[in-house]
Symmetry: C2
Subunit: 256 residues, 2 copies
DNA sequence: TCAAAAGTGTTGGGGATACACCCATGA
DNA sequence: TCATGGGTGTATCCCCAACACTTTTGA
């Protein structure tokens, strides 16, 4: 690595952007905020912001997450999730020279998986924030839009691409890890966990085989002893996420 | 995202670092360059350099790769590899405020998988460059070192961590993709491909079952019609990498 | 003739799918 | 009593591990 020569290598702005996913009403949803100023004023975007001089990338992402949602993140290999904890991991970095028309910005995107939350609170400069089904945020290619800021307008910057990458990461990662439990409250039933898989993958799973599979995988689920009938029908056992992070053998995602 | 205020958010230097892996003499090896100046002068490090004002992150990584090795990278979803092509993909981004003692540097690490190469040529400011088995570069915790620049000294900066992440990515990715062929020359035998898996995973695989598995996976291997006896024994069919990128079902990595 | 590597056949078992069937509650 | 979701049992199939065995070369 040669010495740093600012004239040859101009400085970059570094930001973090967040793909915050949750499952609401049987659909995979992402958090979107409305931009309050140009460029893309009035359009929807992923939450994010500049990294500060003294903080690590993960710290910056966790700070933005609290500012935008009130959620506290726990580290990937950390202790069990707190009451309103969320999984946070680095996703990828986007640095196309033209991705921001104002200046050279490199954005380190992070992926957050959160349980179903109360309505998000708009933080910082965002005019508003909301959960939107990921398909409604992604299937916007070339459609006619009535006005800027319409929920059917494409996301600002390259955020559609970032969101698509985050969704793909989540879809593949719940196959071979216990991360799907990050979408559930602290205590949940096997059926609720199954509906998470169904929403994220967009498929129907056999309830009987799913039940056998997840309860038979050591360390995946820990029974709490309680039961609930909040889904109707026969009372269901309540579970917490177990210590296992890797699923072996993995959950099999049906061919589409 | 608030407006950019340089006083609140000082600029960052952005670099790319490369984890270049190959298989030589039945061992997984990484490319290391000797640092020519402080900090960590004389110590081994991963190749890398600053991102220029007008280039994308992947472009910067490909440029550094050519400068350091003469290798040309092909994109993940691109056309078949050229003669000395190598697989290149983004790995992760490292931005600890203290990772470089001189200033705030955010490094976007990339992973390169290359076939066995002629001896690397030292480029740029590196005093020298060499292939080293990854264990010899990683198993350096707390050992006594005779002198700086010794091959047994730990890697500079946080490069040991970056290398470990790259190795782990390669180990897991050859399970479910055809990426192991990136370690092979354009034409190769099933036995040579098997020795790649064995070197990367550090295990022994059953030659008979491996043969059936890879030749039975549609799109993985395409016979070229030729044969070779360069490994001794009965002549073996030569293959090229097929179009398939994802392996379904995956190669199973034996339990350790 | 022998060593070495390539390749084929066969067998047994684990786990997945598909689906019949029973269980325990609220309305 | 019925609808609803929870949970168990079972047959079939596919794939993988293990390993005996044959093939084709160089030395």
């Amino acid at each position: 690595m040669p010495p740093y020569d600012p004239s040859a290598f101009p400085p970059f702005a570094v930001t973090v952007d967040l793909v915050v996913l949750t499952v609401r009403r049987h659909a995979l949803c992402a958090l979107a905020v409305r931009r309050g100023e140009p460029p893309f004023q009035g359009r929807w975007a992923l939450p994010g912001g500049f990294v500060r001089a003294d903080e690590d990338l993960a710290e910056a992402a966790a700070r933005e997450l609290v500012e935008e949602t009130g959620l506290h993140a726990y580290p990937p290999e950390g202790s069990p999730p707190p009451a309103y904890g969320a999984h946070l991991e680095q996703l990828a970095t986007y640095g196309d020279p033209k991705r921001d028309p104002r200046m050279r910005v490199v954005s380190v995107a992070h992926l957050v998986l959160a349980p179903d939350l109360p309505a998000p609170r708009a933080g910082g400069d965002a005019h508003s924030a909301r959960w939107a089904p990921v398909e409604s945020l992604l299937d916007q290619e070339g459609s006619a839009h009535t006005r800027e800021g319409d929920l059917t307008a494409p996301l600002a910057f390259d955020h559609a691409r970032i969101l698509a990458d985050g969704v793909e990461r989540a879809r593949s990662k719940i196959e071979y890890s216990s991360l799907a439990t990050a979408f559930c409250p602290q205590e949940f039933t096997v059926g609720e966990l199954r509906r998470v898989y169904e929403a994220v993958w967009g498929v129907a799973l056999d309830p009987r085989n799913f039940h056998r599979k997840v309860t038979g995988t050591p360390g995946f689920l820990v029974p709490t002893g309680g039961t609930t009938t909040r889904q109707g029908g026969r009372p269901a056992q309540l579970f917490r996420a177990g210590g296992a992070t890797l699923l072996n053998p993995p959950m099999l995602r049906p061919e589409v």
